[in-house]
Amino acid sequence: MTKESLARLMPMHLILGLNGEILQCGPTVAKLFVDRTLTGQSFFECFDVNRPGNMASVADIIETIGTKLHLSMRNEHQTMLKAVGVALEGQEGVLLDMSFGISVVDTIGTYNLTIADFAATDLAVEMLYLIEAKSAAMNESHKLNARLQGAKMAAEEQAYTDTLTGLKNRRAMDHVLSRFVTGGDSFGLMQVDLDYFKAVNDTLGHAAGDHVLLEVARILVDETRSDDLVARVGGDEFVLLFHRLTDIDQLNDIAMRIIERMEVPIMFNGQQCRISTSIGTTVSDFYTEPDMDKMLSDADLALYASKNKGRACNTVFSAELLRQAS
């Protein structure tokens, strides 16, 4: 085959004589060594053979023919190359064909290679195209993600829903409560707190904890009327608002039903999750001028009274509790 034909098929070939002299080189290899002419030089002075080890002569290369060679160029870039060799007819030397492997991405910039430097059938250009196309697409996706992330955070800030349970959140509760108070509506308020929830989370994991919260949410919704507000206001804290319901007996009944149902262990992946519930209740009728923060803290005080009584019970706020607390 003529030198020109070989150059066209393998622009990165070398022909080495038995003494290691480079007898011929393809145009792209020549381009890699900007300031020296390869032909006539010793192969081992221009390239290091990293793998297989201990390759010091062309005879060694012939010995391991068929094995992929890992080379690096002896220049300031130490460009890595892959190569495969075949023995020339009559054993007068070796034909090596080289390629860049994955280092092609950096190499094209380093040596300013063009499409013409690769064989027409070489997939390197296609690979470069693919990398660039995918990077451009990925870049667009990243920008979109960043925008969506911002929009999501803004939406969450404005949201009224607790994303885990689907119950209302603290924002929604504040909003409804202040509407009741300013509108002079009568209403009942319960602070509901889960006992032993942290233990479930710690021993059975967050998935179990999340499952328990979903079950609790279902029970709370079940045991309240559709126009009552059920809000998750903290990790295991809930507030219930009962519009136009201030009857202590009725509220006590609701609280007891909730407590009873919470006593039933919740199953998660064959494991029993046991929790309990303490509730504190107050109603707007107790106050001449109901105040949001006051009512929430009074219900909280009643809740802690329930906890002190041994949990799984409801306590209705009274002036007596306040006196004990102070």
């Binding site: 910039g109 499409i115 470069l128 196309a133 995918k134 667009e140 979109l144």
Partner: protein, 202 residues
């Protein structure tokens, strides 16, 4: 239609004619939002409404809008990526024309959801005479392609005559006569990404 196409249309209109014109187009087209997202999918009517409303507001034909869009996509300094990706098609304008057959697959490789038309290059008997046949579900790609091809010929520095030969049944044809393949210097193209070479943005 894919967001990339809609987003390109938006960039072209707002960069060429200003944000106020884009705003008017959005209003007239009844999109219900201000900006397209390049990675979303949109209803086809939205794309067509934008083209028609832009044409009306700017007193141009839809065909001219589409052709200018094609030119913009290749030649605008703000959108470098498409021009670069097309230049991977080959070292000369003729190589590039030959690579049009692969354009559909290349597009799919980059963004699988992107529905581009298929392109087929027919080599006419006389040397330097070609016909590009564009076939796809969406009307108007041929006009945009005419703009793309004109801009690419400039990019390669080739002197070329092109004409839109009309279309029917989802097929559109563009005739190309290559007068001189290296008429001017053309723009530089390096396989390495400019951000890799210089550390700047693409």
């Amino acid at each position: 239609m894919h967001g990339l196409i809609n987003r390109s249309l938006e960039s072209f209109l707002s960069e060429t004619y200003g944000a106020a014109v884009w705003h008017d187009v959005v209003e007239a087209a009844g999109l219900g939002f201000e900006h397209f997202e390049s990675m979303f999918e949109y209803e086809d009517w939205q794309t067509y409404a934008v083209i028609e409303c832009a044409a009306e507001l700017l007193s141009k034909s839809s065909d001219t809008i589409l052709e200018d869009l094609g030119t913009y996509l290749v030649s605008s300094p703000n959108v470098k990526s498409l021009r670069r990706l097309l230049r991977f098609g080959g070292d000369t304008f003729v190589d590039f024309l030959h690579s049009l057959d692969d354009l559909y697959d290349r597009g799919k490789l980059a963004v699988p959801e992107l529905e581009l038309p298929t392109f087929k290059l027919l080599e006419e008997g006389r040397p330097g005479c070609f016909t590009v046949v564009c076939h796809g579900p969406h009307k108007g790609f041929g006009r945009a392609m005419l703009g793309v091809l004109r801009a690419m010929a400039d990019d390669y520095g080739a002197l070329v005559f092109m004409e839109y030969q009309g279309g029917r049944d989802g097929f559109e044809e563009i005739s190309i006569t290559l007068v001189e393949s290296s008429f001017a210097d053309g723009r530089d193209f390096s396989l390495a990404r400019p951000d890799v070479l210089s550390g700047g943005g693409t």
